[in-house]
């Protein structure tokens, strides 16, 4: 599992990016939606842009470059330009710390709730 940080490091409506090399080959973004934490691959599947820089609306993040929207729960894009889902990852909160368990496929991961 990858250590992300403390829950208070990820404020409501914000995202943090975990750079590649800390237990994952690619950067991962962790979002706080009304107290629920979601983790997805940080790089838009359409072109090189960081989804952690994107616009968060409900459970959807809009890529800052071309406005592709991804569902944080499933990783699915809502429409073009992106046609490929991003991977979702399980978020685990244990001993007051936030971790991500990296998924190896493009299956939707179940999400633990941050208390």
């Amino acid at each position: 599992m990858i250590l992300v940080g403390r829950p208070e490091d990820i404020p409501l409506g914000e995202a943090v990016r975990v750079e590649a090399g800390f237990g994952s080959k690619v950067p991962i973004a962790v979002f706080n939606v009304d107290g629920e934490l979601y983790a997805i691959d940080d790089t838009c599947t359409h072109q090189d842009a960081s989804l952690a820089d994107g616009w968060l609306e409900g459970c959807s993040v809009e890529c800052p470059l071309h406005a592709s929207c991804f569902d944080l729960r499933t990783g699915m894009p809502s429409g073009p330009p992106a046609r490929t889902p991003v991977r979702t990852h399980e978020v685990v909160v244990a001993d007051g710390l936030v971790y991500v368990r990296v998924t190896e496929s493009v299956e939707a991961a179940s999400v633990e709730t941050a208390a």
Partner: protein, 393 residues
């Protein structure tokens, strides 16, 4: 309607075809493309593809999902004429496609540098263009880029990364000044010299010289610049000549449409780079040669053709981006020369900032360098300028 012909096989064409299906059209959709390949994405041609970081497969715009749309592709065939009232399209081969509705999505082509064709001189619009240019760049040597617009700057940046010696020549004293205004244009222009690219401004190119292959670029005033390859990035020309005699209103600026892509002919709509359209956000007619417009405008045009309402309640601000010298530039809105500019985030010196353009106190446009997240925040605060009286003449 039983058959709709989409004329144009690039981003606007595939977007129109998808939109027709999304709106429930279940008749025949014929997509005609002048290039002999399925739609591909052009922005990477000056960046990742030219750099060798992306291949042909990475550029594909169509996916497995498009296979289910049941589109009839006619590729490698340019349209040559549209019958009056838009009931049929004649292709260059003489083949005729009869249709109840037509979407014009023929895009634009790169403006060639005037004069005789000479080897080693490039423009960049198609995949083949990019392949040929990359071949010349990999041979090393000296590249001269004519025009310091976004395409010119992106090519210069990519060539520099490939280790090529680059000179950029721009006739305007201040490149991008017309787009961004003097202060911000100066910041972008500085990126060239920051990255070891020589920039010559306020100087026109008068000719290219070389025996069989370009050897030098001649400048007004008698100076010459040695060149092993040349790229002209001096604008684009909408592909509308084939519409002569069709009755569709158009001129050198493009096909005239309203905000919903309607032309003056009921069964004919248009979208993308070939259009000169009323923009509800800007309050004027303009040609938006931007990727996002080619992605979004076809949805409105398809709705218009099918007799559905096409105008979104809230006008979308025009948007474009450019990646050059490791910097990400983003612009949204509509700027006029007399708008006030202020830096609203960061600072110019840090090359990380957001600038706002105000008109009568309202935020009408926003420009960012290396601030995608904050750009997204400010972009959502844009206010459409009060519509100006605009009339096509």
């Amino acid at each position: 309607m039983r058959t709709i012909a989409v004329i144009g096989g690039s981003l606007a064409g595939i977007s129109a075809a998808r939109a027709l299906r999304e709106h429930g059209f279940d008749g025949r959709v014929v997509v005609v493309g002048a290039e002999d390949r399925l739609p591909y994405d052009r922005p990477p041609l000056s960046k990742e593809f030219l750099a060798g970081k992306a291949g042909v497969d990475d550029l594909a715009l169509t996916t497995d999902a498009d296979a289910g749309l049941d589109l009839d592709w006619v590729l490698g065939e340019a349209a040559a004429g549209l019958a009056p009232r838009g009931r049929s399209v004649v292709l260059a081969s003489g083949r005729e496609i009869v249709a109840d509705g037509v979407v014009l999505a023929t895009g634009a082509r790169a403006r060639p540098f005037p004069g005789d064709r000479i080897s080693g001189v490039h423009t960049l619009r198609s995949l083949d263009d990019a392949v040929a240019l990359r071949e010349d760049l990999l041979a090393g040597g000296r590249l001269v880029v004519i025009g310091a617009g976004f395409i010119g700057a992106e090519v210069a940046s990519t060539a520099r990364d490939l280790g090529v010696e680059v000179t950029v020549i721009e006739s305007d004293p201040l490149p991008l000044g017309g787009v961004l205004g003097p202060e911000l244009a100066a910041v972008c222009t500085a990126l060239h010299e920051d990255n070891g690219v020589r920039l010559i401004t306020g100087t026109a190119v008068t000719g290219l010289a070389g025996a069989g292959r370009v050897r030098e670029v001649r400048l007004a005033g008698g100076r010459t610049v040695a060149a092993d390859a040349v790229v002209a990035g001096i604008g684009a020309i909408p592909n509308i000549e084939w519409l002569a005699g069709s009755g569709v209103d158009h001129d050198h600026r493009g096909v005239w449409t309203d905000a919903g892509g309607a032309t003056n002919i009921p069964q004919v709509v248009a979208a993308g780079d070939c259009t000169f359209s009323y923009c509800p956000y800007s309050g004027i007619e303009l040609r938006q040669e931007h990727w996002t417009n080619a992605l979004q405008q076809p949805a409105a045009a398809a709705a218009t053709l099918l007799g559905k309402s096409a105008i979104p309640a809230r006008p979308t601000a025009p948007y474009f981006w450019s990646d050059q010298y490791g910097a990400r530039l983003q612009f949204a809105g509509h700027r006029r020369p007399d708008d006030d500019v202020e830096i609203v985030e960061g600072g110019l010196d840090s090359r990380r900032f957001v600038a706002g353009y105000r008109r009568g106190g309202e935020l009408v446009a926003v420009f960012a360098m290396n601030q995608p997240k904050l750009f997204g925040k400010w972009r959502r605060q844009l206010v459409a300028p009060a519509p100006a009286a605009a009339r096509l003449s």
